[in-house]
Symmetry: C2
Subunit: 230 residues, 2 copies
């Protein structure tokens, strides 16, 4: 759980009774937690990242700052929990990798653009540049997403659509990086044609068909050698 990695929460809503305690005391309020997360999202949407502060969230949630700091040690941790609450973009499974990847990018851009998730995620990336724990959590999250996105490539490999030696996570890294840069530079309205081009370049490459003798010769040799083997 990502939140656990930053926040180090060992107790979940006060349900565990620590032997060092003489009595359980009051329970944590799930309503409070939800109100704080809702408020965090609302503040970010209404005032942007520049207006996002723990003070503003506390005011909006009608919660005490100590309550927020009890569960979330930093702005980044709070933003991360907000992001984790939001739906994830699914991997399309059309049987064709180009369509899968273009569909994925289109869905991701729409999701980031049409919900608060884009604002949340870009704020998180920004926080990660000044908060080491946030940076570690973001890196871990990105690693997991590369594997998940890479599943589209793995499926294509299983279908024989993609070469067996292709590293799916490097491909996913290329695609996700493209998306991140679009998010960070306000380009979520990119033309579908450009998305198709970018995906096309990754799938089919950009070298010319009869580019240089060496490339063409190498291709012919590879064809010849692979056929008798079959």
């Amino acid at each position: 759980m990502m939140a656990g990695e930053i926040a180090g929460k060992e107790e979940e809503m006060g349900e565990i009774t620590d032997p060092g305690r003489k009595s359980a005391g009051a329970r944590r309020s799930p309503e409070s937690a939800d109100a704080i997360l809702d408020a965090a999202e609302a503040v970010l949407v209404e005032t942007g990242y520049s207006g996002f502060s723990i003070e503003a969230v506390a005011r909006r949630a009608r919660a005490g700052k100590p309550t927020i700091y009890r569960w979330w040690p930093s702005k980044a941790a709070l933003l991360l929990d907000v992001y984790q609450r939001q739906k994830r973009v699914d991997n399309p499974d059309t049987g064709n990798l180009a369509e899968d990847l273009v569909g994925f990018l289109k869905s991701l851009f729409a999701h980031w653009r049409d919900t608060s998730s884009g604002s949340v995620f870009r704020s998180l990336i920004a926080e990660a540049q000044s908060d080491e724990k946030a940076a570690a959590a973001l890196a871990e999250y990105a690693r997991g997403r590369r594997i998940h996105t890479g599943q589209m490539v793995e499926r294509a490999k299983a279908r024989g659509e993609v070469a067996a030696d292709v590293d799916a996570t490097v491909v996913a890294d290329l695609i996700a990086s493209f998306a991140w840069a679009h998010l960070l530079t306000d380009r979520l309205d990119e033309d579908e044609a450009i998305l198709r081009r970018a995906v096309g370049y990754v799938l089919k490459g950009i070298v010319a068909d009869d580019a240089g003798d060496a490339t063409a010769v190498r291709r012919r040799r590879r064809r010849i050698l692979s056929r008798p083997a079959k």
Copy 2:
């Protein structure tokens, strides 16, 4: 000039005499400007982005805050000028696009890792998420870099190495995005082998050689049709 775009500096170091002024008065001090930019870089290097503030820069530069605000309206504007002072990574020109792009990524990562430029640039990206002017300046800068990086692809097109219809800036976008994501997630020590894979996937694609009949047939047809035309 990027700084001009944020800072709106119409006068250059007080050299222009504005008709509305009754006397030239004291000149702006170039030593001051340099001291401030040097201090900004030093503060960022020593305390990281989280310790970077106008107060800290003013203290370090032994300059007045009003002096800083006179010339740079925001942290982002100051960071941008610091970044603009730094050397740019050149485009390799080896006559082979794969070597050019891998060399470019390696140089860029080394530059970002071994100088303050990486810290400066990631801080700038972070600032751009909360400062609209910084966002506009970053987007403009990124646009210019895409064209510049795309020159490696244009040269490869001219050599016949890359197909004539390939959009060089989309390719540059893929490569730069990959670099940005590495910078933002602390991966500037990436293996050269991974860089080569990623570049290779963009150049040669990832589809299998005999992937699906349709793909192979399409390739054969394209070969046949293009030859008689020549």
